[in-house]
């Protein structure tokens, strides 16, 4: 399995047309706010259809009936009519007030989390071009898995530019603005796998910032236990890949492309240029760079380095796993 498919996994049952089980206009309703949104949409839709017909039908009738032709001379007609003008100002106004109120009502429901939602809060960290989720028990994972029928709150944070947290099946969207928290909540009501998109343009990989959201029929405890990465179940390289995805993939590619930092592809064991001279990319340099990114900054990347130190954030074991991964990232 290549790394790209880990990062940008496609799931069959969502992308396959034959499995589309949403309505004509909408994907599946998978949260308890979805029905309200769809209802408002449908109301506006049919009212719009009515008014659109009210435009197009007279238009067609008029161009046929009043077209210039031999023997036709137009009857005199008014060129203004106050009652008519007020009519087509006031009636739409009333309808718009209805839409407005319904919209505000639905919106307030979407914005105000129920009290239960504060029990479970997931921190969603967006960065170019990945998502990282911190679960209530401290587990960090690139996957978003939610138990059904349990309200959950999201605390949204960005580590670089503006992203937007968009899950169509939940009818949920909230911008992730750097330098501040965003708050969203959802109560998933349907088991399945859905899409999470970034909806605010954030750079080259914007369209690749889509992930799966799984809603499962389990309790929070089961979910969190399942999602917790167990080092003993994987080999060192696999553990390293997991850590890479969580901590490094935002800035360092493994396919040779240059992001904020240099790519790891075919880097191991070669001489690399830094501001402090040429350095062999080996275990010592890797370890030093993880713990003190500013020690030897690679050219031509900006100095001081944008990379935060991982001193105290990674255990000795974890650093070793990472180094194992760096030796052959494209395995």
């Amino acid at each position: 399995m290549s790394l790209d498919s880990v990062l940008w996994a496609q799931t069959e049952d969502y992308t396959n047309w034959s499995n589309w089980d949403g309505s004509y206009f909408f994907p599946q309703q998978a949260s308890d706010n979805a029905a309200a949104v769809d209802g408002t949409f449908d109301l506006i839709f049919w009212v719009s259809v009515f008014f659109f017909v009210l435009i197009v039908v007279p238009m067609v009738v008029f161009i046929v009936k009043y077209r210039r032709r031999p023997g036709y001379s137009p009857k005199p007609a008014q060129d203004h009519n106050l009652v008519l003008e007020l009519g087509w100002s006031v009636i739409p106004t009333l309808i718009l007030v209805l839409f407005f109120v319904k919209g505000v009502w639905g919106y307030m429901d979407m914005r105000t989390p129920p009290d239960e939602a504060s029990e479970y809060e997931i921190q969603a960290q967006a960065s170019q071009f990945s998502w990282k989720f911190t679960y209530p028990n401290g587990t960090v994972s690139p996957k978003l898995v939610l138990p059904i029928n349990t309200p959950v709150r999201f605390r949204l944070q960005s580590s670089d530019v503006i992203h937007s947290f968009f899950i169509p099946a939940f009818r949920l969207k909230h911008d992730v603005v750097p330098g501040r928290f965003g708050t969203a909540w959802v109560n998933p009501t349907r088991v399945g796998t859905y899409r999470l998109y970034c909806a605010e343009f954030c750079g080259d990989g914007h369209s690749l910032m889509r992930r799966d959201v799984e809603v499962v029929d389990k309790t929070w405890e089961e979910v969190m236990d399942e999602i917790k990465w167990k080092y003993e179940e994987h080999d060192a390289w696999g553990n390293g890949q997991h850590l890479y995805i969580l901590n490094c993939a935002g800035c360092h590619s493994v396919d040779g492309s240059t992001k904020t930092g240099p790519s790891f592809l075919d880097a191991w064991g070669t001489q690399r240029e830094t501001y402090s001279g040429s350095v062999l990319f080996d275990e010592n340099y890797a370890r030093e760079s993880i713990l003190d990114p500013n020690a030897k900054v690679r050219t031509p990347f900006p100095r001081p380095s944008a990379m935060p130190t991982f001193q105290g954030k990674l255990t000795e074991d974890e650093i070793n796993y990472l180094i194992e991964f760096l030796k052959d990232p494209a395995r």
Binding site: S158, V161, P178, G179, R180, P300, A306
Partner: protein, 134 residues
């Protein structure tokens, strides 16, 4: 526009076109004196009276009085067409709308900014500083 082009117009007594309203020297000097006085007042008030959060409103109030003096006398608004005055005032109205609605939003989300940890993302080097760093 009806008056003779070769007639030498002096400062007094000769008919001027209807759109020509010179402001008297006395008015100009009085306006200037008032403006200087208000400048001194605003400095003294700001620096010696402890007014806390009202200070900015007092300062801005004095500034507005000064601005009105300039507009009415130096900018001849007293003699200008009402439409021109309306146009100019509308500029301030729209600027106020801009400020008011922006503030009403930003006031709310400051809590989210304070609650969040200080931004740790990459600092982009400005273009003019790049040469120096490489």
């Amino acid at each position: 526009m009806a008056h003779d082009s070769h007639q030498q117009v002096s400062a007094e007594g000769t008919p001027l076109p209807s759109f020509n309203h010179p402001i008297s020297v006395t008015t100009l000097l009085a306006t200037f004196a008032a403006l200087v006085m208000f400048t001194i007042v605003t400095v003294v008030v700001a620096k010696s009276l402890p007014m806390g959060r009202f200070e900015i409103w007092v300062s801005l109030g004095i500034a507005t009085v000064k601005a009105l003096l300039v507009m009415l006398f130096f900018m001849h608004m007293l003699h200008d067409k009402p439409f021109n005055v309306l146009i100019f005032i509308s500029g301030f109205v729209f600027a106020a709308l801009f400020m008011g609605l922006t503030l009403s939003d930003s006031e709310h989300y400051q809590d989210d900014i304070r609650a969040a940890p200080s931004f740790e993302g990459a600092q982009t080097t400005p273009i003019l500083a790049r040469g120096a760093e490489e």
